[in-house]
């Protein structure tokens, strides 16, 4: 057995528990006397302690142990959950997260002791001497239990057969000791087989294991209750085993019995087993009783789920992609001799591939809650740090997104929320002076909108002073003064997302706003999403992030530009219009058309894609114009003709060509040729 195989399970579970701890601590802060919450925190700390102990992470065990003491005192109302206590517990949480992160990156818990946290935990306990005495008493009680159990039953638990008898006799002849060792694990033990592994390791060190009940395989596969019995041959004596095994965490009871020739005397036939079998019944009873003690909740809900490596899902997704490509190909090859049956079969296939794609996609979906749940804590910390009163309202946590998007979206959101709390929300005095409520609010919302998921961050802070940004555009030399003066609000806001826009100037109260927003934007766009910012000076601002539901397979419109085929993602297309060349007007050197009283800039895809334009285009009666949207901004793309709508699989252009701005990737068409996917966000 190898400890590494448990490491992943440990990390995954530890993360879940820490998340729970985070949520519960936030609740505790709000209602310091809520016993349910306290119990939950205690449970989590206890579980973590057990898990860490099992894996041999002694520093983590030590910290959680000290936490437990404090929590226990809280539960028994020896101390109050005041601000110091909660703060210390939060520090513990951070320390535990530190350990887990260290474990993720190095496999070990690292050297960090967090002595000052342990110290402050003990300090809290010291305030109430009563509470300090309590855990000690408990320990003493436990020890007494153990020794009781030791004396209780000296009979043999193992089912010895004639072979075992030979082994025993031989060992005794060689003056070696034969012991039956019965180990009972704590029924709260989570990684039973890992724990058993540790015990087996110790046994291996001092003895030779001759027999095990249940079998080693069953123990490895966790097919045992909380106890097992082994027979060992050794030259050491019982006290060593008692000592060594009792020092393993989560071992409830160890029983070492010397097997002598007396025990083997009546082993001749099955009858000799009767005695031991009876005994086994007893053990089983104890086990079931132990299990009954556990609250029903202990049977964890995760039982029906499977943890799957994301790579395997990627492989599955790739296979589905291949299938869709082949389906498209089938669609193409049959041209001419398509019978009705062929068409029917093809349609059936299409239905199946589409459902398959949906199913695989759903497997990859994770609720945004996984990202959102760290924010309450973050806002709490910021509001304490800045001495502002800020409340975070969240909604739509259950909205689901592709796992890869979830993994990437955290950082940008942290940035935006921090901006809101730091620069958006005013301090209490200013808020009161402005006639706003004392408490500043940040809303974090997620919801699905068609093929997109929208995440909004809104605050009721001071908003952005557009005029200041406008001045800055000129100061920084991005635009001439008169051009800047004529820009609309949304055009001005665009500059906040430009690299190096507001890093240098620290004087204005704008500083910070916009720092790193370009990074946020790049990240969101790399995920195929868009970001917008709305603001009203004095009232607050709102950041709107739109993300695609899936990254791998999308619906696209295939178009011809010159003699080449290109795909435009359907999600960014608003409508398709035929326009006559005469409708194109020039405004400030920009070609535009007027569509239902809206001025829409025109982009010739030919120019972007370096395809020569047909000279005779001016004589053409009609041009095909694909109206695309980026956020709320519309643009018209001129193409030569439309081919049709198709489900396409996005493939990367590879590292060598990753620098090309206007391409979102490539796809393989039914005929095996490659078509490039136009990145609408990059060209408009």
């Amino acid at each position: 057995m190898d400890m590494n195989q448990y490491l992943d399970v440990f990390v995954e579970e530890a993360k879940e528990h820490l998340q729970n701890l985070n949520i519960s601590l936030l609740e505790l802060e709000k209602e310091p006397n809520n016993v349910t919450v306290l119990n939950e925190i205690f449970r989590v700390a206890h579980t973590l302690k057990g898990m860490a102990g099992t894996m041999g992470f002694s520093r983590m065990t030590n910290l959680t142990h000290n936490m437990e003491n404090v929590l226990d005192a809280l539960r028994s109302k020896k101390i109050e959950a005041d601000i110091t206590v909660v703060d210390t517990l939060f520090k513990c949480l951070d320390a535990l997260e530190g350990y887990v992160n260290e474990i993720i990156s190095t496999g070990g818990e690292g050297e960090q002791e967090y002595e000052e946290i342990v110290q402050s935990l003990t300090d809290i306990l010291d305030k109430s001497p009563e509470a300090k005495a309590q855990p000690k008493k408990k320990k003493a009680g436990k020890k007494a239990d153990d020794s009781n159990a030791n004396q209780k039953d000296k009979g043999l638990r193992l089912n010895l057969n004639i072979y075992d008898k030979n082994v025993i006799q031989k060992a005794i002849e060689e003056s070696l000791n034969v012991f039956q060792i019965y180990v009972e694990l704590d029924n709260k033990c989570l990684l039973k087989s890992a724990r058993a592994f540790l015990i087996f390791q110790i046994l291996d060190k001092y003895s030779e294991i001759m027999k095990s009940e249940p079998s080693v395989e069953d123990i490895e596969d966790e097919r045992f209750d909380y106890s097992f019995t082994v027979m060992v041959v050794t030259k050491h004596d019982e006290t060593l085993f008692q000592k060594e095994l009792n020092s393993v965490a989560e071992v409830r009871n160890v029983e070492v019995v010397r097997i002598t020739e007396e025990h083997t005397e009546d082993i001749q036939d099955e009858e000799g087993d009767k005695y031991t079998q009876d005994d086994k019944h007893d053990t089983a009873d104890i086990d079931s009783a132990a299990q009954a003690q556990k609250p029903g909740a202990a049977k964890r809900l995760t039982n029906k789920t499977v943890r799957v490596d994301i790579d395997r899902l990627d492989v599955l997704m790739n296979l589905v992609s291949e299938l869709i490509i082949i389906k498209t190909r089938l669609d193409d090859v049959g041209v001419g001799e398509k019978t009705n049956e062929f068409i029917a079969a093809l349609e059936n296939l299409e239905r199946i591939t589409t459902s398959l794609h949906d199913a695989v996609m759903k497997v990859r979906m994770v609720p945004v809650e996984n990202v959102f749940n760290r924010f309450p804590r973050m806002v709490r910390d910021i509001s304490k740090e800045l001495k502002k009163d800020i409340v975070l309202h969240m909604s739509g946590e259950e909205t689901e997104l592709d796992r890869t998007v979830i993994d990437e979206i955290g950082e940008p959101l942290i940035h935006i929320i921090r901006n809101s709390a730091d620069h958006g929300i005013e301090n209490t005095k200013d808020r009161v002076a402005k006639g706003k409520s004392k408490t500043g609010s940040i809303w974090l919302r997620a919801y699905q909108d068609g093929n997109n998921v929208v995440i909004e961050v809104e605050d009721d802070g001071m908003g952005i002073d557009i005029e200041k940004v406008r001045k800055k555009i000129v100061e920084k030399g991005f635009e001439e003064e008169e051009v800047a003066a004529n820009m609309t609000q949304s055009e001005v806001i665009e500059y906040l997302f430009k690299p190096n826009f507001s890093t240098a100037d620290k004087v204005t109260d704008l500083s910070g706003r916009g720092v790193g927003l370009d990074v946020v934007k790049t990240k969101i766009e790399a995920l195929g999403g868009t970001i917008e910012l709305e603001t009203e000076w004095g009232k607050g601002s709102k950041t709107i992030i739109r993300l695609p539901l899936t990254l791998a397979i999308i619906q696209a419109l295939l178009v011809m530009v010159g003699s080449e085929k290109y795909a435009i993602p359907l999600s960014s297309i608003r409508e398709i219009n035929n326009i006559s060349p005469a409708e194109i007007k020039n405004v400030r050197n920009q070609e535009v058309i007027l569509l239902r009283d809206m001025v829409i800039p025109i982009i010739w895809l030919h120019d972007v894609l370096e395809v020569p334009r047909e000279k005779s285009y001016a004589n053409k009666k009609e041009l095909t114009c694909v109206i695309v949207k980026k956020g709320d901004k519309l643009s018209g793309l001129i193409v030569d003709s439309l081919i049709g709508q198709q489900e396409i699989v996005i493939k990367s252009l590879g590292k060598l060509l990753s620098g090309i701005r206007c391409m979102a990737g490539a796809t393989i068409l039914g005929d095996g040729n490659v078509a490039l996917i136009v990145d609408v966000n990059a060209i408009v």
Partner: protein, 146 residues
Amino acid sequence: MGAEKKQFVVFRLDNEEYGADINKVTIIERPMNITRVPMTPHYIKGVINLRGDIIPVMSLRLRLGLDEIDEDENTRIIIFNINGISFGAIVDSVSEVLQFDDSQIEGVSSIISDKALDYISGVAKAKDKLVTLLNLEKLIAELIPA
């Protein structure tokens, strides 16, 4: 230390023979449909679909400053894989695989000092000919974002 033997795929461009480390060659393909990619250096011909993977392809003639020629039945695309990056290079023809030991390979500094030619890693002397060995990393170095 015995002379270390290395195998090279030998191919022809114009009238000269070039060699590429065989460990970096994935496969040699006949010409296939290439999709042009805009906004790339002139020697990048586009991308191909190599059994489901999208692979960029360059004209090695253009890359080395030679004139392009029309493809014929000898034209091949050599697919290289360098540190996980795959790309194809169009060559006039692929002739053979040759083995050279270190004593047959002349270092580049003693032959040329022109910096523009730093994609040449050396020259190997076979019985009846000279084979220019290419430094494949250099061929794509400028395409990889820092």
